[in-house]
């Protein structure tokens, strides 16, 4: 690990005042400290944002939307009763991620801003455009069975690893940002950038900008009775997604009124398929309709290496997630959150 200065601002204004080139904000450090240990991140200054007051609250606004402070810990959000009831697929995604110890520490802001798990990004001896602009990409032609199948380029074929972001993007989450030049907000869908231009920019944040909160609109709770997050992993638990799917349905008169579909582990951003959602609206929730939605969701997919299997896997998981959502949100969090294999014991919400 390189040496760095450590500062601990007591307010957002102090955080901005402390920000210089090569500064990194530090939340729980479960991603950043890991990257620093291997030398993939070499900040000159760490700005510890965890003591900034007011950013660790879950607030319900008058219009029924929820505002989640950037410092809310992953486990606290997942186990918040009202939140879990309103946005069950978000809670399930959180609980399918990492381990209890990591979730106790990890913050919502840090989860959104975590970097790719591409092994060449971590390995400083490898060429990686994302870590070192214009150095090349050793994943192309290398070990890439877990890399992207959507939205990749010859610059970079990495995926964004967050589980949390997948249902959030499906539910129209908005990110509140403050920076030295003022406050703004943007849809989560616009936070992570696809690797289309060199040098790579990973997110839409400009230097010094800080995520202060994430909001979910009240309308996102319309699918609460039919919402799942399913995640295929290479072991039962404590593993990143090979592919994951957040699915939500709102039904009326035997037809789909609203559909929400997003995929994780497939691209450099959480990948929402509005086309697949649109294809479902107005149709009865049948196996054929789900299969068609899955075709549409993966229509543009291309293997970036030895990962053609992920395209078929993702298609099947879209169908599986929609079918589980149709059965109903489990009334209690499944024992193995996100598992597409384990059966859900206990009651599900009545249709």
């Amino acid at each position: 690990m390189n040496r760095f200065d450590y500062v601990r601002p007591a307010s957002i204004a102090e955080a901005f005042a402390a920000f210089q080139p090569a500064s990194h904000y530090l939340a729980a450090g479960t991603n950043l400290v890991d990257l620093m240990k291997g030398g993939a991140a070499r900040p000159k200054r760490l700005i510890d944002i965890t003591r900034i007051p007011g950013l660790d609250r879950i607030e319900w606004l008058a219009d029924g939307s929820v505002r989640i402070g950037a410092l809310v810990r992953n486990s606290d959000l997942a186990y918040d009763e009202r939140f879990q009831k309103s946005f069950p697929s978000v809670a399930e995604a959180l609980l399918s991620g990492a381990s209890p110890q990591l979730r106790n520490a990890a913050t919502v802001g840090g989860n959104l801003m975590q970097r790719t798990r591409c092994p060449y990004f971590y390995d400083v001896a490898s060429a990686c455009n994302r870590r070192l602009p214009r150095s090349g990409c050793d994943a192309i032609g290398g070990e890439n069975r877990l890399h992207a199948i959507l939205g990749w380029s010859d610059e970079c074929i990495a995926t964004h690893p967050s589980d949390l972001c997948v249902p959030l993007v499906a539910l129209d989450a908005v990110v509140e940002v403050e920076g030295p030049k003022g406050a703004r907000e943007l849809p989560l869908d616009e936070l992570h950038l696809l690797p289309h231009a060199a040098p790579l920019r990973e997110t839409a944040l400009t230097p010094g900008e800080l995520i202060v909160a994430v909001r979910l609109p009240a309308q996102a709770a319309a699918v609460a009775r039919h919402a799942r997050y399913l995640k295929v992993r290479e072991r039962t638990s404590f593993a990143f997604a090979v592919v994951s799917v957040a699915a939500g349905l709102e039904l009326a008169d035997g037809k789909i009124r609203t559909a929400r579909i997003a995929m994780g582990g497939v691209a450099a951003k959480p990948w929402r398929s509005r086309e697949a959602e649109a294809a479902l609206v107005g149709s009865p929730p049948t196996a054929e309709a789900f299969a068609r939605a899955a075709e549409i969701a993966l229509a543009e997919a291309k293997p970036s290496g030895d990962n053609a299997f992920k395209i078929e896997l993702a298609r099947r998981l879209v169908v599986r997630a929609l079918s589980s959502a149709l059965e109903g949100t489990p009334q209690a969090m499944p024992a193995l959150p996100g598992s597409p294999i384990a059966s859900v014991s206990g009651a599900i919400h009545a249709v």
């Binding site: 040496r3 209890p100 110890q101 520490a105 404590f238 193995l336």
Partner: protein, 165 residues
């Protein structure tokens, strides 16, 4: 640059100068404070051998920079027993053969103490296994670990009831 932080470690208030900001809580415990119970398995958040409680919550001490924990209350495996009287989780690990080589055990036990406090598993072994999945055991003592957690949870619930009565 040296910053001094205050920590309560196993009930002991301490003032600790940190001269290198790279020091993790795990390194502070092991290298500076002589508390070598928490183990360094992977040093990257992947194995759980370094699990301790910070303000009552289980975390991986290998990924937490010591400076960020100024003012925190830390409990390590050394702080569980009361003199010669083992903590119920420690006793249950012995009773159920919840280990073989013992390297992962302090982390497993601290994680189990955290799990029981969180009270999310109930009596369901599947939930216990899932909520212990942040702790890897290379000896594969998982069966005994799950049994030990379930038993200790029952013992602690009984003790609480007695205290309340």
């Amino acid at each position: 640059m040296s910053l001094t932080i205050s920590l309560d470690i196993n009930g002991q208030p301490l003032s600790v100068p940190i001269d290198d900001p790279r020091t993790t809580l795990l390194d502070l415990l092991r290298e500076r404070l002589g508390l070598t119970g928490a183990k360094k398995g992977c040093d990257r958040g992947q194995c759980g051998a370094c699990t301790v409680l910070v303000d009552g919550r289980r975390i991986n001490s290998c990924l937490a920079l010591a400076l960020t924990l100024d003012g925190a209350q830390i409990t390590t495996i050394e702080g569980l027993a009361e003199g010669d009287r083992l903590h119920p989780v420690q006793a249950a690990f012995i009773a159920h053969d919840g280990f073989q080589c013992g390297f992962c055990t302090p982390g497993q036990i601290m994680s189990a103490v955290g799990l029981i406090a969180e009270a999310r598993a109930g009596a369901d072994p599947e939930r216990v296994r899932e909520l212990m999945s942040g702790n890897i055991c290379r000896c594969g003592a998982y069966k005994g670990i799950t049994e030990a957690v379930l038993e200790a949870q029952g013992v602690l619930a009984d003790t609480h009831q007695e205290v309340a009565a």
